[in-house]
Amino acid sequence: MTDFIAPGQPGSKVNYLSRYDHWINGEYVKPDSGQYFENVTPVTGKVFCEVARGNAKDIDKALDAAHAAAPAWGKTSATERAIILNKIADRMVAHVEAIAVAETWENGKPVREALFVDIPLAIDHFRYFAAAVRAQEGSAGELDHDTVAYHFHEPLGVVGQIIPWNFPILMAVWKLAPALAAGNCVVLKPAEQTPVSIMFLMDIIKDLLPPGVVNIVNGFGVEAGKPLASSPRIAKIAFTGETTTGRLIMQYASENIIPVTLELGGKSPNIFFNDVAAENDAFYDKALEGFTMFAVNQGEVCTCPSRGLVESKIYDKFMGDVTARTKAIKMGNPLDLSTMMGAQASTDQLEKILSYLDIGKKEGAKVITGGERADLGGELSGGYYVMPTIFEGNNKMRIFQEEIFGPVVSVTKFDGFDNAMEIANDTLYGLGAGVWTRDMNTAYRAGRAIQAGRVWTNCYHAYPAGAAFGGYKASGIGRENHKMMLDHYQQTKNLLVSYSPNKLGFF
């Protein structure tokens, strides 16, 4: 028996509905097509509910509701909105175990991550933006004695948000919290691989928001995501995903002249300088854990530290130690608290990872550990499990250049600071990076030299609200997780006022 009982079983904290409709205008709405698609848990590979298959008409219905709600919602005071966001946070705290189990069942992640990381971060995110919007002020600039420029923040109105499947709730909240705090109404399209975690959350908080402020339409990208992204009725589109869809979304946005924020992934270097191993102490132990962070969320993280760069002098010792740490990763039923790594989110994700294990081997990379699908036996045999894998190779190999989005790290050695920076920056992406050293001068110089939006320094995979997160290069546009995100969801209104009673004298 697992620590948490599987949804739908007697005594479980989670009872998913057998069928989920859209959430539009404060109520469940059946899909226009009358069609539903099956939702599979990657834990066992079995169907556990059905989900509305949305289309352009459903998106329009959601946009109608959002536009109807927007004028009143946009005029609520920041105080009122902050109170609501804090109430959402409180409600989530009261249901944290159920929400965590629900997300684990749909996504496959170990419940310890959902329970202690993802959902608490989501809760804190609502609180952070409740606070940020309360503290936000416009400005008054005295341009000259008689002329004042006032700046006010105004909501954009109705925005579209397309959510990925790797953190179905946290990624939704990263986008929802600032949008709502700033006074916008939202039409949100979850990933078709994880459509109901957010519906489960919505069901818990639904009485706290006025109808039409948040609308959720499920369905396939081409049928529901595209009509949302290309709609002339949204004032902004936010997307987390990959580069081709990111470009297509920008293309649609250009047709409507609306802003986009895009988070498109990375191939993050995790750099270990020689002095990391100067002593066999707590810091060295922390660095070994930092390397092993590639297994967090089964590697399905945009900032997965999927390139390990280890300085040559410590290479053999360090690789021996991290290989032992990696082999100690406990795979198992994600509903067990002791499970460190769960299931990949979907069968197609599993297939993709296996295709990369294949090209990695064909390119001559050496498998240090793992390298195969894992069969965990029993009912988990039908689930999507991959062994944590360490490859050794060089940075020109495709496994060093593409986001595998699995528990796979590709390791190479470097000699000296310049060589480390050269390898670290030899990538199309620039989302995250890790730097490990006991020398803070080295850490600072490395952090500034790496072309990435987030450089974890002697830590990794922390996502506190208040630290800006976003990409350089092909990793995207915009920043999340910080009060500057409010700007991405607001217009600036300038009132330029003359207090002079006298004319200019031109006419």
């Binding site: 078709e192 691989q193 995501g225 990111g246 498109l264 069968t347 993709k352 986001e403 199309l428 092909a474």
Partner: protein, 133 residues
């Protein structure tokens, strides 16, 4: 001397492409990169995705049952890291990512790769590729 092809397809992929063509019309691919559904070949109605000077035409899929070849595109910057590998567009069960057309069929296109042989690479290494400009 014929130029070796850079991209091919499996019979299963061809059958799905024939079906999608019948439903939607002429098709194209753009190979994605990055997060989540990255690395997936995204299948669109021809012309849906605007290609330009920063894209290269990796190759064209000539399927006997279809009147038009299906162009396979990729960002030029990404191609620099992929150009030494031969690609095969296959299909697996699942859901197409992004706005790719096959998701409605319960399928997902998948790019499989191999290294070019020395003979192939000797020819391809210095062969120019066409851009979308």
């Amino acid at each position: 001397m014929t130029l070796p092809s850079r991209v091919d397809y499996t019979r299963e992929a061809a059958l799905l492409l024939i079906k999608l063509s019948a439903i939607n019309g002429p098709l194209m691919f753009h190979q994605s990169g990055g997060c989540c559904d990255g690395s997936s070949p995204m299948c669109y109605l021809k012309g849906e995705f605007r290609v330009g000077g920063s894209d290269v035409l990796v190759g064209e899929l000539v399927i006997p049952e279809l009147n038009e070849a299906i162009a396979v595109w990729m960002s030029a910057s990404q191609f620099e890291y992929w150009k030494h590998t031969h690609l095969t567009i296959d299909v697996v069960d699942g859901r197409g990512g992004g706005f790719s057309l096959e998701s409605t069929e319960g399928k997902r296109f998948l790019t499989r790769s191999r290294l070019f042989t020395d003979q192939e690479w000797a020819i391809l290494e210095n062969s120019p590729v066409k851009t979308g400009a």
